[in-house]
Amino acid sequence: MSAAGEKTKLKNINVSVWRGDSAGGTFQNYAVPAQESQTILDVVAWIQQNQDPTLSYRYACRVGMCGSCAMMVNGQPRWTCRTHVQKVIKKNKLVIAPLRNLPVIKDLATNMDEFFDKWVRAEGVFHPTRTRDDEIEKINPETSKRARANAAIECINCAVCYASCDVVSSNKDYLGPAALNRAWSLVNDVRDGALDQRLDAVSKSGGCHNCHSQHGCVKFCPNELNPTAAIAGLKLETAKTMFRRRR
């Protein structure tokens, strides 16, 4: 059979892609040829390259490192470069939308300013206690504190947890799972010198105490982190600090 004949035999996937901007938009339908080991990002790229060059979306590494390609796929937040179509397709249909809980810039690209601003608000910045002139501090990876810091450290800032969180949906002030997970990682980092500052930052109005422990972040985190446990750790640590300071 000729190459053209092979092509016509390819099955098409029905794909609905959200098109629009911050003022609003609608879903547009595309037929995309199914391929073996095809990812959601492959589908979006195929539409942009073959059917509609005006489609906007964001990606960089394509290997699950950079955290820039997250989107809603069939209603659930996913890192699209590592999500196989076969894993999430339902009745040969895909519905692809911009990440939930974030304002849309255009089509599938969201404005992530508030997501990253909240990292700063949660004191997600490392405050070193040594200078470059000091000797490098030896860290024992076996300690329980370091194990807790390590458990939270593999976040790739993809905002999948932020999109999955119902508390973020109903409380725009809430710092969200990723920022609080980062804060927890630094609370457990013995090299950091801003513990009190950080615990104060996560104790404010939109802080860790607003988490309802619904575990959406745990369910959807592509790196299988546990932000709910990190937030529970922050709740406990801030409560202890409250009693410590009153003494």
């Binding site: 508390v167 109903s170 409380n171 002030d173 809430y174 104790s203 404010k204 109005s205 939109g206 802080g207 105490h209 607003n210 709740k235 801030t238 409560a239 409250m242």
Partner: protein, 110 residues
């Protein structure tokens, strides 16, 4: 919306309510099993500082705990914010406190 202060107030009042709730259930079972009449129950509670403190503490804890819980629901589900939210929270707290204190007063004063 919830800061450390409100979070701790809600958790600590929950901590207080747990033993008091068990105490209340135990007393209810005891009163019913023993066949105490309303008059007999009142004769034991009236003039009793211990019962006034027991149910008085419970009422205060419930008022704080309930007001904070409803505050969260009003904010997250019904989008009530700022001053109206504070007024709502205080109104729930004061209403529960008034109703509860009135009941405690009625059964413990002679």
């Amino acid at each position: 919306m919830l800061d450390l202060r409100l979070y701790m107030a809600q958790r600590l009042t929950a901590l207080i309510m747990v033993p008091l709730t068990f105490g209340h259930i135990a007393v209810m079972i005891y009163a019913i099993e023993g066949g105490l009449s309303a008059a007999e129950i009142l004769s034991r509670t009236k003039g009793s500082l211990a019962w006034a403190l027991f149910y008085g503490t419970f009422v205060v804890a419930v008022s704080i705990h309930g007001a904070i819980g409803l505050r969260v629901i009003m904010f997250e589900t019904f989008d009530l914010k700022g001053r109206p939210l504070s007024i709502f929270s205080w109104a729930v707290f004061l209403s529960l406190l008034y109703l509860g204190a009135r009941a405690v007063y009625a059964v413990t004063t002679t």
